[in-house]
Amino acid sequence: MEKAEKDSVDKALDFARKSPYPDPSQLYDDLYTDPINFA
């Protein structure tokens, strides 16, 4: 079980390290289901 958990964390870390930084346009993504314009 410990190995499975460690593999899962390692996989997530690997994915995060290989992923590009988010685009600035994504700043408000996932705050609400339907975006709200606060501007």
């Binding site: 993504d29 996932d30 705050l31 609400y32 289901t33 339907d34 709200i36 314009n37």
Partner: protein, 323 residues
């Protein structure tokens, strides 16, 4: 009455969707009226009496929403302070922190009982705190029809919603259309859509919850002096329908915002800020804020009435914009 309209909304939504359940302190006995007959109709698995442990049961609501339930939690604004960890650190932030993988369709029905010698620990009007917290929708109904329609929308919404119910309006009477009188078959009021309570030409008065009732009575007196005010109820503060208010100010050139919350960083502060930034050149006079004094709510019946917006304060504010 407003409380009956809210009760009707909850009955309808629990009937429509088996994932909706209701919980709170003494809700089976319906101490505050909004949960009347829910226990008899939907039973012990869907109507839960909770211990006096807001952080615990709001945490349970957060958890159950993550696995597909749609909890409706009844509480009082004054008791929400002890649940701020769950409300703010979890409920408001979880969707964003999980990159949109979590959905938290939690509705909090937050009753505001003030103006009845309930003193500082039981008189909170705390919606400005939650306007300041991204991730939560803030609903502030005044009239019974809106209370029902917005409550139904909140329960169906996939984001955390706090419906702030003004305890002074529980007995407010008003027409609520029957479902068979409505084209789409039921009363659903979208968020971010203000109600023009009364049209007018000389000054725009934006009212939050009970303030709309004071604004209506102020309007009658001002009419006798030849002053016509336009009253707007935003109905939701997040999302906020600024267009209706800006359009009204474009017509009247004047703005008074009436808000029973404490005046510093109130909803009124934010609304005046928006109009000043985006509608400045339409203003003929500085906007006026009529909000509660920046002091704790005293128990004393001699002192408490000095705190809140009143009809007289609204009349004075409107006249100030016309000087």
């Amino acid at each position: 009455m407003q409380v009956e309209a809210i009760n009707e909304a909850i009955h309808e939504e629990m009937s429509n969707d088996e994932t909706v359940y209701y919980m709170g302190e003494d809700v089976r006995a319906s101490i505050y009226g909004a949960s009347k007959d829910l226990f008899n109709r939907f039973g012990e698995n869907r109507v839960l009496d909770t211990p006096l442990s807001e952080n615990g049961f709001i945490g349970a609501a957060v958890g159950s929403s993550l696995v597909g339930m749609r909890p409706v939690v009844e509480t009082l604004t004054s008791f929400m302070w002890v649940a701020m960890d769950q409300l703010v650190s979890q409920l408001a932030k979880m969707k964003y922190m999980f990159g949109g993988q979590a959905s938290l369709p939690v509705t909090i029905k937050a009753d505001m009982y003030y103006n009845g010698s309930m003193a500082a620990h039981h008189s909170d009007r705390s919606y400005p705190f939650f306007m300041n917290m991204p991730g939560i929708k803030v609903i502030v109904p005044t009239f019974p029809e809106d209370a029902k329609g917005l409550m139904k929308t909140a329960i169906r919404d996939n984001d955390p919603c706090i419906v702030f119910v003004d305890g002074n309006l529980g007995g407010l009477k008003g027409d609520v259309p029957e479902n068979n009188e409505i084209e789409q078959g039921e009363l659903i009021i979208p968020f971010g859509s203000a109600r023009v309570v009364k049209e007018g030409t000389d000054c725009t008065v934006v009212g939050i919850v009970n303030s709309n009732i004071h604004a209506l009575s102020a309007s009658e007196k001002l009419e006798k002096e030849g002053i016509s005010i336009e009253i707007i109820d935003p109905r939701t503060l997040v999302p906020f329908d600024k267009e209706t208010i800006l359009k009204s100010v474009e017509k009247t050139g004047r703005l008074v915002v009436v808000d029973p919350a404490h005046k510093v960083c109130s909803a009124a502060s934010e609304i005046i800020s928006v109009v000043t930034e985006e509608g400045f050149w339409n203003l003929q006079a500085p906007p006026v804020k009529v909000a509660s004094e920046q002091v704790h709510i005293p128990f004393s019946p001699a002192l408490e009435p000095l705190i809140y917006p009143t009809e007289e304060k609204i009349i004075e504010a409107v006249k100030k914009t016309l000087e």
